[in-house]
Structure formats: structure tokens, C-alpha cells
């Protein structure tokens, strides 16, 4: 008896039970499903990459056509995200701070790109901006060509990426305490000063996160772009289409090479997003 107590006092860590039930079951199932559905396919990707030598890999992704597609994909994603960060913040501001009839409908609308199949978005936007489309016909008068150009791709990506900025900035705006603004006002600051020196800095991390999310999402976009782009190699061919083309030619290593490059870029973006998110959380709690 005394011996048991003595042992107990030497090894005090033997009790590791959890109070709420279900830990074992949920951990087991979650990890199992995750491994099966996600980890296995993804690891395949990296395994396949090692089929190539470094030289082959490098050669595969630096052909003129591939580089042109990278320039296009990254460029349009960046442009679209830039547009979205401006209008997304504006829209989030409107939805949080202002009241107007139909506000709820507009708020629900923001999620449309999220809920709509990308292919439907694709054929819709193409029809809209085609030479005889509802918008296209007017734009043509000004000599602006949208379909079959990078501009068209950008328009499609603006559509896809908008909710990411709005939905990231909205909660931050909603959580902002009014008393900070009231304090500034009582100290004599006029409205624009408050907006630019107090409000914008607070939402900046969220806006940047939204930018990064929109960018990452639209980088690999396919369905909404492939109709309006025209898909001319070297001009309006996006990287994802190139991957499909190589797959159809059974050039698995070639397709993999492009995919891995894009994944690495996305991964770096994810990292940036997480760092920014941590920044937001720290700022929110340090008040």
C-alpha cells in the first residue's frame, strides 16, 4: 500500500484521461478520413515530382508557353485581387456601417460567387461581355474588348474573389468598438482623420488577408475563366488549362511540374495568410 503510494508520487503523470467523451473516436476517424481523402492524393503529387530530374523539372516549367501562362495567371489574379481589395473594403464598410432598404439582400448576394458553379459563372460572363452581349455591346463602342483578352480573365476573377475580401473584413469592422472613435472625436479629431488613422489601420490586416485569400483562390481558377479567355497559347492561356492539356497528352510529369510550382506559390501565400491572421488576433486581444 505504502509502496504503491510511493510509486504514485514518483510517476505523477500516469493519468491522462479526458473529461468530455469522444476524444479517441473523433481523433481516430478524423485522422483516418483526412489521410485517406487528402493526404494520400497530395503525397502522390510530390512522389510523382521526383520522377523528374531537377533539370527536366526546370525545363518543363520554363518553356515559353508555360512562363507566359504563369505571367497570365499570376498577373490577372493579382489585378483582380487589387480591384477586390478596394471595392471589397468599400462594400464591407457599407454593409456594416450603413443602413438602406435591401441591405440584407445585398449582403446575401456577396456570397453568390461562392455558391454558383464556376462553369455557370464562366458561360454567363462570356455571354455578358461578348461583342453582342448586354455589356459587351456598349464596351465595344468605346473600343474595349473584354472577351478573349486578359481583361476578360480579370473580370471573371474579380467575380470569383470578391466574397473573400468582404467576408474577411466584415467581422473585423463589426467587432470594432465604437468607443475608440468616440474618444478620438472627443479629443478633437474630425471624421476623415478618424477613418484614415484609426479605422483603416485596424482593418488593414484583414484587408490584406482578404487580398491574399482572393489571390490564392483565383490563381488556380479554371471554370469561370476558360470560357471567356479564348485560351490562345502565349496570350490568354491560363496555367490550369495548360495542366489539363498536358494531362490529356499523358505528359503526367509535365503537368505535375506546373502543379507543384503553383502549389508551392499557394503554400507561401497560405503562410502569409496565417501570419496576417495571427496579427489580427493579437491586435484584437491587446485592447
Amino acid at each position: 500500500m505504502a509502496l504503491a503510494k510511493a510509486i504514485e508520487n514518483i510517476f505523477p503523470q500516469r493519468r491522462k484521461r479526458r473529461v468530455l467523451p469522444g476524444f479517441g473516436l473523433s481523433l481516430g476517424f478524423t485522422v483516418f478520413y483526412l489521410s485517406l481523402i487528402v493526404l494520400t492524393p497530395v503525397s502522390m503529387l510530390f512522389l510523382k515530382t521526383f520522377d523528374l530530374t531537377w533539370a527536366q523539372f526546370y525545363g518543363s516549367i520554363t518553356s515559353a508557353r508555360v512562363l507566359a501562362s504563369f505571367r497570365l495567371s499570376f498577373g490577372t489574379a493579382f489585378a483582380a485581387a487589387s480591384v477586390n481589395i478596394i471595392f471589397g473594403v468599400l462594400l464591407a464598410w457599407t454593409l456594416v456601417r450603413y443602413d438602406f432598404p435591401g441591405k440584407r439582400i445585398v449582403d446575401a448576394f456577396v456570397d453568390l460567387p461562392f455558391a454558383l458553379p464556376t462553369a455557370v459563372a464562366g458561360i454567363t460572363l462570356t455571354t455578358l461581355y461578348a461583342g453582342n452581349g448586354w455589356f459587351g455591346q456598349y464596351l465595344e463602342i468605346f473600343g474595349i474588348r473584354v472577351d478573349y483578352t486578359p481583361l476578360g480573365i480579370t473580370v471573371a476573377l474579380i467575380f470569383i474573389g470578391l466574397p473573400f475580401v468582404v467576408r474577411t473584413v466584415q467581422p473585423v469592422l463589426e467587432a470594432m468598438e465604437l468607443d475608440v472613435e468616440e474618444a478620438a472625436a472627443s479629443l478633437g479629431a474630425h471624421r476623415w482623420y478618424i477613418v484614415s488613422r484609426i479605422i483603416f489601420p485596424t482593418i488593414r490586416p484583414a484587408a490584406l488577408t482578404g487580398f491574399a485569400l482572393a489571390f490564392a483562390r483565383t490563381l488556380g481558377e479554371y471554370g469561370s475563366v476558360v470560357f471567356i479567355a479564348g485560351n490562345m497559347p502565349m496570350k490568354t492561356e491560363i496555367s490550369t488549362l495548360l495542366i489539363i492539356t498536358r494531362l490529356e497528352q499523358y505528359d503526367y510529369p509535365g503537368a505535375t511540374a506546373i502543379a507543384v510550382t503553383m502549389l508551392v506559390a499557394s503554400f507561401i501565400l497560405l503562410l502569409i495568410i496565417n501570419v496576417l491572421q495571427a496579427r489580427i488576433n493579437r491586435k484584437a486581444s491587446s485592447v
Binding site: 468530455l20 492524393p41 445585398v106 462553369a119 503553383m262
Partner: protein, 304 residues
Amino acid sequence: MIGLQYAAGKLPEHDLMVTRSSRLSEPRWVRWIVIGISLLFVVVFLAVPLALVFVKAFEKGTEAYFMAVTTPDALAAIKLTLLTAAIAVPLNVVFGISAAWLIAKFNFPGKNVLTTLIDLPFTVSPVISGMLFVLLFGLQGVFGRWLDEHNVKIIFAVPGIVLSTIFVTFPFVARELIPIMQLSGTEEEEAAVVLGASGWKTFFKVTLPNIKWGLMYGIIVCNARAMGEFGAVSVVSGHIRGATNTIPLQAEILYNEYHITAAFSVASLLTFLAVVTLIIKKVAEIKIRRQASTTNSQSFTGTL
């Protein structure tokens, strides 16, 4: 300055256009312009495209519409889409609940890694997602030869479509449930456990009612995405008409063959689903907000 104006009764007390104290807001004309720009943006980029789908779908009249959505190919596409969703969504719901319970109610090393991994399909391009399955099960893929020998078809067949859809819609329910469950904390579950309830009983009687709106929204969104997935399925399906075409793929084929109206008719089915999704989301949001505010209303003390 502003305070004096307010005291002098010069500023209106309740302004239709502002949700917070009008003393602390932008001048009216600024508000009008900002609202105007935002609305214009929404109309141009979101509302008009949505309208276009339905206008184009019914351009040739209601009869043509119904004919377009009931061709054998269209019906096959609808059936396949429904089948895919019927498999992918329940599986992902079970996973989502399991993952949310794990992450929200427990602490353990590696929790962050797990959360990041769950988000992985969300950040990967759909085309790359589909490609992964081709790499695994395609003719030159890891299991390609074995599958060929046993005459099992995954790529260019229904299983491939289902698998890649599961992959792509994998995080949706989990991502929806995790913050909700984290917000509601563990106290109600602890109370149930102390009162004698087993794990399953606690989950069904206490946890589930609290997350029902978030769960509903997660299911709806997961379903919308599962039915509408294009990129991944496009890679994996082989576009075999009548057999491996989902509704989005069918719409693509019709469009590429210049059957514009028919393409939009088919597309309108999923567009309608998207609108329903948005409505349900709004309703769920309102309910969740109401729930959160009553839990926090400890200021209502009233009578003893």
C-alpha cells in the same frame, strides 16, 4: 463641435442611413456616394450575371426550357450530379462533425497542423485536385496498371467523379462548424456529463441543437459546391456524354456547341440552387445571431 450641434438639436437623432450614432459618421453626401459605388459594383458584377442566366435560359420560351432539361443527356447529367452529391455530402458531414468536435472541445499537440491540413483542399486549385486523382488512378498512375488488370474504372468513370468531389468539398462542413462549436464553449457539455449523460447522449441532446443552423448551412454549401464542381470533375470525367457528365459539364458541352439557350437552361438548375443556398444562409445567420445574443444577455436581471 459635433457635440454642440447635437445638443442644439441640429442633427437628426435617428438617421435611416446609419447603423450607429449619427454624431460619429461621415457627412451625408459621402455616405450616398459610398453606398452608390458599392451598389453599382454589386449590380454590375453580381446581379446582372445572375439575371442573365435566367433570361437566357427562358429566351426561347418555357416549353423549350423544359425540353432542354429533359433530354436523355441532361437527365443523365442530373442523375449523376445528384448521385455524387448524395455520396459526397453525407460523408463530409460526418467528417465535419467529427473534426469540429475534436478541434473545438479538446486540446492536443498538433491541433494547428490538423486544422491547416483540413483547409488544404480549400486552397488547392480544382484542376490540381482532379489531377491528383488522375495521378493516382489514371492509366499511367500509381494504381493504373492494377486497376486496368482488374477492370476497375475510376478515372473517366463515376467513382473518379465522386472521389474528386469528396476531396474538393471536404473542408466545407468542418470549416463552418468549428468556429460555431468553439464559440459555444464546453460548459453545457460539461454540465450534461456531470448530470450523468454519456458521450452520444450529450452530443445529440446538447451539442447538436446548438449547432443546428451552422450545420444546416454547412450542408447546403457543401451540397452546392458538390453539385457545381467543374474544374476537378472536368479533369477526371473524360466528358463521356450520357455517362460521365455532371450538370456543369453538360452545360459546357452545350455551350461549346453553340446551343446557348439549352446551356443556360441546364445551368439555371444549379443557379436556382445557388440562390436557395444564399437565402438559407441568410436565415441561418439571423438565427445564429439571435442565439448568440440571448446567451450573452446576462444583463437582464429583472426580478429575482
